[in-house]
């Protein structure tokens, strides 16, 4: 008798279930045990004692988005590289190591181009990006 | 002979590589990489020459062909077959065509390196030129309509870019757009035809289409009330019409001369416009099956004659040449239509040589004197002797003077047309085809010699009024145009040698195998009639039993199994069929007639422009001349009537409807509807007339408008809705 191959997924589901159960268990435990004396002042967002002004949901700097952008591209590229990396040794043993290397390196070279571009354009600088672009234009 | 893909692919790939390198790194290369383009085309030429040698001089049987396919994608599952193969298909015709395209393109590239020197668009020009050539070569190599269509569209794009290369000039931009849009009209139909073929036989490969025709798969299928074969044939021919600039869709070609002259040479001679003829020839069995050859012939005749008449009054060298191209394309189509398959293809080849040469010569003139208006030229013969020589050869060829190639090919077409129109028992109305054809031939001789006389003979006007005119308004050259000391032309391998090489091939015996051409006996023996031996309409039967060769295979068929067919000139026309004799007669008559007509045309031109004993056309027939100068008002018709009156009118009407009617009666949208309905119900008892007469109309108009406004919303989300709805209705109606 052999277990079916999908059993490997069971721990994942169980762990997720445990996490959710733990969360709600802890929540209800705290509902039962913890005191509850709500007041307006208590539920004011903490700003070191100052009265909060306005909502925190305001516009943020677009640099956060640029970082996310670079990340997602690299993320996807590394995802595509994973299966190739996984069979790299196999290909090498089959005598196709050079071919695999060329494929792999040409893929990575585009990745490097991406990071080089962003580096050059100052997207990787957190603070200086304004000054750099300013300098370049003037 | 062993053929692998490796020995064929460079034909197509070398220019593509040049294109890629030039597109990305061209600016960094010396001379913008033009040498790379020339080199790549030369590589193509070498490989093509090898194929040509094998097919023409080698041991291959006449109907030998190379057909290699690979599976592009295969989405079939179960009983649903959805599988597309791509591949290459080379037969005699393709071998000849490949050599012609690569050879002429090579010479044009070489010439362009001289012509485009110091031009602001030098780099961009040499990006698109190799791509253009490679697309044409790929089109010739294609074994199916789909990949052919891809290259077709690449060519469309390239011609768009080349015509509009001086994009800072509004006229060039307009011309390029015009070329692009006009050919699109044909392409839509071509696509439709391809889809229709796909629906019937599940493939668009040439050989599959041929074998389907042989097996009668098209028989009995009807669409839109006409036979399926007719439908597809018309669709495909409309595509060819767009590309080959046939009569109603011809308007783009004359404007295509806005680009640099070598680009025009490529468009007019080797690549773009011949693609349509090529397609018609490839799909010839379908045209025959669909019984639309008479239509092709008539279209061709109209184009041939109409364009020739317009060319008579043009004053721009390139315009004359452009209209002459149109006219010659018309002859090719006549050839296809009257069943003169061989001669039509031969005319493609011969025309390519002399038209390329003509355009390059015109380019040489323009580059030398910076002027292309013929009335301002004259007497250039002593300054540009080589150009004059090559241009004269080509003019003799295009005019159909014996011993030159144009005579051979055109008069074969005309002979067949004569037979077709008068002797084959067709509808007598079709006699218009040979009549227009011969008339056009005479006009051709006339306007070509008019061009020659005005340009090279007479007195040179350039010296006298240097400052009276501005630049030639075509090519923006780097240097100033006013210093019109016309330099004496020297022999230069980039500027004149290509012309002279091309001029050599305007002689008829290269193609006909004898000096005089057909109709006057075979002086040097019929065995040299290689063109007639090699090129024949596809025999669809032989494609029924065929095996695909995989793409990577070495071509291993026994090539010497079948003997090369022999062409017997005498027995060819004296067979058991009594019509053969008539055909022979028609050819002799036709040849004689056309010689007479051609010389007549030359004579009139001579009298009119050298001796000046006949008044020029404009003073004799001012009305006709004006009409011709306006190009039969086609542009006016398309722009002013179809677009401005039709489309804009509709637009204006809708706008009026929107603003005037809708806004007046229903400013508040749905609210008004409600209010009006409410009022109507409230006042129904006492003010019936009022309610119906005023508000009721408003409601009706409002509702109607609501529908109209939906269709004009411009909201992307509404288009999603329409997309889904149309898709759904399509599926439900077709009951898939």
């Amino acid at each position: 008798m052999t277990p079916t191959s999908f059993d490997g997924l069971m721990p994942v589901v169980i762990f997720m279930g445990i996490a959710v159960a733990l969360f709600w268990g802890g929540h209800f435990a705290s509902v039962l045990l913890a005191p509850s004396k709500p007041s307006h002042l208590k539920s004011t967002p903490y700003e070191c004692g100052e009265q909060p002004v306005g909502s925190a949901w305001s516009m943020f700097n677009v640099r956060f988005y640029v970082v996310g952008l670079i990340f997602i591209i690299f993320d996807v590229e590394s995802v595509l590289m994973f299966p190739v990396a996984a069979i790299f040794r196999e290909l090498n043993d089959m005598g196709q190591g050079a071919y695999a290397l060329i494929i792999f390196l040409s893929f990575i070279s585009v990745l490097i181009e991406g990071i080089a571009y962003c580096w050059k354009k100052g997207d990787l600088d957190w603070v200086k990006s304004f000054q750099v672009s300013h300098k370049k234009r003037s | 002979m062993q053929y692998t893909v490796g020995s064929i692919a460079p034909i197509f790939l070398a220019p593509v590589i040049a294109f890629i390198i030039n597109a990305f790194f061209g600016r960094k290369l010396p001379r913008n990489g033009d040498w790379l383009a020339v080199l790549s085309i030369f590589v193509s030429f070498v490989f093509s020459a090898r194929i040509f040698g094998d097919f023409v001089f080698g041991q291959f049987a006449t109907d030998y062909y190379i057909h290699k396919t690979f599976n592009w994608f295969d989405l079939s599952f179960g009983t649903h077959i959805f599988k597309v193969d791509m591949g290459i298909y080379i037969d005699n015709m393709a071998a000849i065509m490949l050599l012609m395209v690569s050879g002429i393109a090579f010479l044009i590239h070489l010439f362009s390196t001289w012509y485009m020197d110091h031009d602001s668009k030098h780099g961009r020009f040499f990006v698109f030129l190799p791509l253009f050539t490679s697309a044409m070569l790929g089109l010739v190599l294609s074994d199916n309509l789909l990949s052919m269509f891809m290259f077709w569209e690449v060519m469309g794009f390239c011609s768009y870019s080349l015509i509009g290369i001086y994009n800072e000039k509004e006229k060039a931009g307009d011309a390029s757009l015009k070329a692009f849009m006009t050919t699109r009209v044909g392409d839509v139909f071509l696509l439709l035809g391809m889809v229709a073929i796909w629906m019937v036989i599940g493939s668009v490969s040439y050989v599959d289409i041929y074998s389907a025709i042989a097996q009668g798969k098209f028989d009995g299928q009807m669409v839109l009330g006409i036979s399926f074969a007719t439908f597809t044939a018309i669709c495909i021919f409309l595509g060819a019409m767009g590309k080959s600039a046939q009569f109603p869709l011809h308007v783009w070609l004359p404007d295509a001369m806005m680009g640099p002259t070598p680009g025009s040479a490529l468009i007019h001679a080797a690549t773009m416009v011949t693609a349509g003829v090529w397609l018609s020839l490839r799909m010839y069995p379908l045209m025959v099956l669909g019984d639309i050859t008479w239509f092709i012939a008539v279209i061709g005749a109209i184009t041939a004659f109409g364009a020739a008449t317009i060319a008579m009054v043009q004053t721009d060298i390139k315009a004359v040449l452009a209209y002459s191209t149109l006219s010659q394309l018309g002859y090719m189509m006549i050839g296809v239509g009257v069943g003169s398959y061989n001669a039509a293809f031969m005319h493609v080849i011969t025309h390519a040589f002399f038209k390329a040469c003509l355009f390059l010569s015109a380019g040489s003139i323009i580059h030398s004197v910076h002027e292309q208006e013929m009335p301002k030229l004259g007497g250039l013969k002593k300054y540009l002797p080589y150009t004059h020589f090559s241009m004269m050869c080509c003019t003799l060829a295009i005019a159909g003077i014996p011993f030159f190639s144009g005579f051979v090919s055109k008069d074969r077409i005309l002979g067949d047309a004569l037979y077709y129109g008068f002797m084959s028992g067709q509808n007598p109305l079709l006699a218009i085809v040979p009549i227009l054809g011969f008339a056009g031939a005479g006009l051709t001789a006339f306007y070509m010699f008019r061009m020659m006389f005005l340009t090279f003979y007479g007195e040179n006007k350039m010296h006298h009024d240097d400052h009276g005119h501005g630049h030639g308004h075509k090519d923006s050259h780097g240097h100033e145009a006013h210093g019109h000391d016309i330099h004496q032309e020297h022999l230069d391998f980039r500027s004149n040698v290509p012309l002279l090489i091309l001029a050599v091939f305007t002689l008829g015996f290269w193609f006909a195998g004898n000096v005089a051409g057909q109709g006057f006996g075979n002086m040097f023996g019929a065995k040299n009639e290689w063109f007639k031996i090699l090129v024949e309409a596809p025999k669809v039967e032989k494609f029924v039993e065929r095996a695909n060769q995989p793409f990577g295979s070495v071509d291993s068929r026994d090539t010497t199994e079948l003997p090369k067919a022999q062409y017997h000139h005498q027995s060819g026309y004296a067979g058991p069929n009594p019509d053969d004799h008539k055909l022979h007669t028609a050819h002799v008559v036709g040849a004689g007639l056309s010689i007479v007509i051609a010389f007549l045309g030359v004579l009139i031109a001579f009298l009119m422009y050298i001796r000046k004993s006949i008044k020029p056309l404009a003073s004799t027939f001012p009305g006709i001349t004006a009409l011709l100068k306006a190009k039969y008002n086609f542009d006016h018709f398309y722009v002013d009537v179809l677009i401005k009156q039709g489309l804009f009118g509709l637009n204006r009407f809708l706008a009026w409807f929107d603003m005037g009617v809708y806004d007046r009666f229903a400013i508040d949208g749905m609210a008004t509807v409600n209010r009006v309905i409410f009022k109507a119900s409230k006042w129904f008892d006492n003010v019936v007339i009022d309610a119906i007469g005023v508000d009721g109309t408003g409601v009706a108009v409002n509702l109607f408008n609501l529908v109209l406004r939906i269709f004009q919303s411009g909201k992307i989300q509404f288009y999603f809705i329409m997309l889904v709805m149309v898709l759904a209705s399509y599926i439900w109606t077709l009951n898939i």
Partner: protein, 177 residues
């Protein structure tokens, strides 16, 4: 048994969160529900034995696209905006109201009907394959496909991503006013 449970869980998560994506007004919540949908789809991939695709789904979507979308919502304020432009039929003041939802629901129903009709005709002719529960690793075969059959697409996808990176960086880069 476990497979069925996993399938039901994933399908419920997918469809439930999908509906929530469609009807939730708060854009931030929509994004979070999209996260649920994507995880559900990853679960569905897992039930199909596509382990690599499932994990890729989580990696790219959950780790990347959703975060990017959350950033974008944050950067655009995440508010409902009333358009000053004239709307279709004068309806739809902001992001979705009952009219647009009704209209899209209608379209959706039409689409479902059409597709069910198509499916019915195709399903009968679909060949059925032996389904085995013992699945070999998909990673190696995907790797082989990527470097052999689809190597051009593989290499081109890197160029595509480079293009997307450059294009998006140019568009989104903070500019000097």
């Amino acid at each position: 048994m476990f497979l069925q449970v996993l399938f039901l869980l994933s399908a419920t998560l997918t469809i439930g969160c999908g509906i929530a994506v469609a009807v939730t007004r708060n854009l931030m919540h929509s994004c979070v529900f999209l996260l649920g949908t994507l995880i559900g789809i990853a679960g569905l991939y897992a039930t199909l034995g596509a382990d690599f695709v499932a994990v890729t789904q989580i990696m790219v979507y959950v780790g990347g696209i959703v975060i990017l979308m959350l950033f974008a919502v944050m950067l655009t304020g995440g508010k409902d905006f009333v358009s000053r432009a004239q709307n279709l039929l004068g309806l739809a003041p902001s992001m979705g109201n009952k009219w647009t939802f009704a209209l899209s629901g209608l379209v959706g129903v039409v689409f479902i009907l059409t597709n069910v009709k198509l499916l019915m005709s195709v399903a009968s002719s679909l060949p059925t394959k032996e389904i085995n529960n013992e699945l070999p690793s998909t990673v190696n075969e995907i790797g082989h496909l990527l470097v052999k059959d689809h190597v051009l697409a593989f290499e081109l996808s890197s160029v595509l991503l480079l293009g997307a990176l450059v294009g998006a960086a140019i568009i989104a880069r903070p500019r000097k006013q």
